[in-house]
Amino acid sequence: VTPPCLSRYLASYEMPRFAQLRPTLHAACFPLMKLLPARFMLDRAEASGQLDARGHIAETTSGSFGLALALLAAARGHELTLVTASGLIDPDFKHRLEFLGARLLVASDIGGTGGQGARLEMLKAVLAERPGTFWPHQYDNLDNALAYSRLAELIVRAIGRVDHLVGCVGSGGSLCGTAGFLRNLFPQMRVVAVDTHNSILFGHSPGKRLLRGLGNSILPANLKHELVDEVHWVGALPAFAQARALYRGQGIYAGPTSGAAARVAYWVADRHPETSVVVIFPDEGYRYQQTLYNDTWLDTVAGWPPRLTGGPRRVDRIAPGGEADWTYFNWRGRSLEEALADV
């Protein structure tokens, strides 16, 4: 049983602070957004009997969802196995997870696309080996999206009506979960999804991605394309540059996905000055000290520093650009099949 003081600390850590970037533009800044769905999924699994009090949890993740699970597993006394990919995990992060007691299984990732197929096979082997293991399955577990009622509640309490919601898509949980609740309240609200080139979520073919923490090489059930009005593909370079500007200009030390989301949100707020815009920032910058906050590393990145162009290029065909590019497409609430058939 989790001591109440401990669970209360993590319950408060799972919620964002608000930053007002413009009079009508608010950012929900999470220190570690994935704690919110991870905690909710574990609560629901415990309530339904899928996860025993000291039971074993296994998941495939190379991102902050793994860190969230590791924090919760340590605090609640669960065993945790994380399956990750060699190209996506640095020694510091690996150490942080292992310090919390997580067991890491690392799949090799030669193509740099995340090795989802190999990772899934390793995970399935773990599940077969240890019956009774709970697999949160963040991509397809609908509790992931449902967890974001807390964010929607916080947004309406703090801001009231929302006209535009901007957020990154990886599992689809945060954007589609929050948008689902807010759209019910405000049927006219527009949903702006932020993805990156070579992610398959909105129809690109899979390829190497420099910008991590959003995008995907497999299609998660938590992504509801029909909720989305507009899709932006932001390359790593404009995302890095915007994240650095957020730190220097606002004191917001955030990760590169927040940079991508901020870039799009500023543009939306400029185009619709009379409307209320909310953007979701998923994590903090500490994990990226040796990359986007490190000038020496950035000098090794082709194309750095990027030219600061005014806005995105509208595209009528769905095709990936380069890491310096920022494009957008009027998705207009279509399913993936419909959108691909229309272009």
Partner: protein, 317 residues
């Protein structure tokens, strides 16, 4: 549940001296169903059934208590036994055991449709008994005495104060601030059968509904803070739509159309009765005309008891 004693709460003379009781009068307003009803997280993380009431100050109940030297409470009309029990509980709470008298209830609130007639009687009786003993009861004490007199209670002890009220415990989950935003309501009854609230099966809400209630609670809070009838109307409409899956109101789809046609802020319903209303912003353009239009359309569509009233709008429109 045990009523909470507090020093300021009527415990004036506990020394056993026989206190003189005088004739006491108490009142309670009715309500017009709910703006929001569902299950919500309490401070301890547990889920509780709770509601946000729409006050209906134009209907009320008055209780008068005439003490006598006997030790039993007689009540008229004779079927208001919960109100009589509430008098006994209230006097005992104040420290006056085995006192009696006559309790009379006069109420303009129809029974069994979701106007809170039973709770209004009980609250008025508690206030009459307290007044008879010269005691002032807090709202929370009044609410917990009401819960002891009847198994579940409406939020009427809080009158025109907006609260998220756990009606089976008699406790407040959230105080939404000082007052409701100004509202104009065209009320009516959807369905004619009177309902015995306590015998209804409790709604079993799904996990997505429970998470939706969380968001609606946040929007209700924002609506009160901004004094925004449109946001509160939206809360009411969505809560009604959830209620429709558990206690369907006949003609609900038609009501949604009427609300749109008359540019109402929303639809509110009694989640355990037949009362319903279209909610308007009394400061919006052409509201008088739209209220009349709504009343005519509702009457024409066969809804009964069509009336209009205001909440916090500074008098009739």
């Amino acid at each position: 549940l045990v009523a909470q004693h507090s020093p300021s709460d009527g415990q004036i003379c506990s020394s056993g001296t026989a206190r003189e009781l005088t004739v006491g009068v108490g009142r309670s307003i009715a309500h017009h169903g709910e703006l929001l009803q569902g299950v919500f997280e309490g401070a301890d993380g547990r889920l509780r059934r709770a509601l946000l009431t729409l006050p209906y100050e134009q209907r009320n109940a008055t209780a008068t208590f005439w003490p006598d030297s006997g030790s039993s409470v007689r009540v008229r009309p004779v079927d208001r036994t919960k109100a009589a029990a509430a008098v006994v509980l209230t006097l005992a709470h104040i420290g006056l055991e085995r006192r009696g008298g006559d309790l009379t209830l006069e109420s303009a609130i129809s029974v069994g449709h979701g106007y809170g007639s039973s709770t209004a009687d009980v609250i008025a009786a508690i206030r009459a008994a307290a007044s008879s003993a010269g005691a002032m009861l807090s709202r929370s004490t009044t609410a917990s005495l009401a819960i002891r007199a009847e198994a579940a209670s409406d939020a009427l002890a809080y009158g025109d104060q907006p609260v998220l009220f756990a009606h089976r415990e008699g406790t407040v989950l959230e105080h939404f601030g000082a007052e409701y935003p100004p509202l104009a309501v065209v009320g009516f009854r959807a369905g004619r059968t009177a309902i015995d609230t306590l015998r209804m099966p409790r709604a079993r809400y799904s996990p997505p509904e429970i998470e939706l209630f969380r968001v609606l609670r946040g929007l209700a809070s924002r609506a009160m803070e901004d004094q925004d009838p449109a946001l509160l109307g939206r809360v009411a409409t969505i809560s009604s739509q959830v209620s429709q899956r558990h206690l369907p109101k006949p003609g609900f789809e038609h009501l949604l159309q009427l609300a749109e046609e008359t540019r109402a802020c929303g639809i509110q319903v009694s989640h355990s009765g037949t009362v319903a209303g279209l909610v308007f912003d009394p400061q919006s353009n052409g509201v008088r005309r739209r209220l009349i239009q709504a009343a005519k359309l509702l009457h024409g569509a066969g809804f009964e008891d069509v009336t209009s009233f205001t909440v916090g709008a500074g008098g009739p429109l």
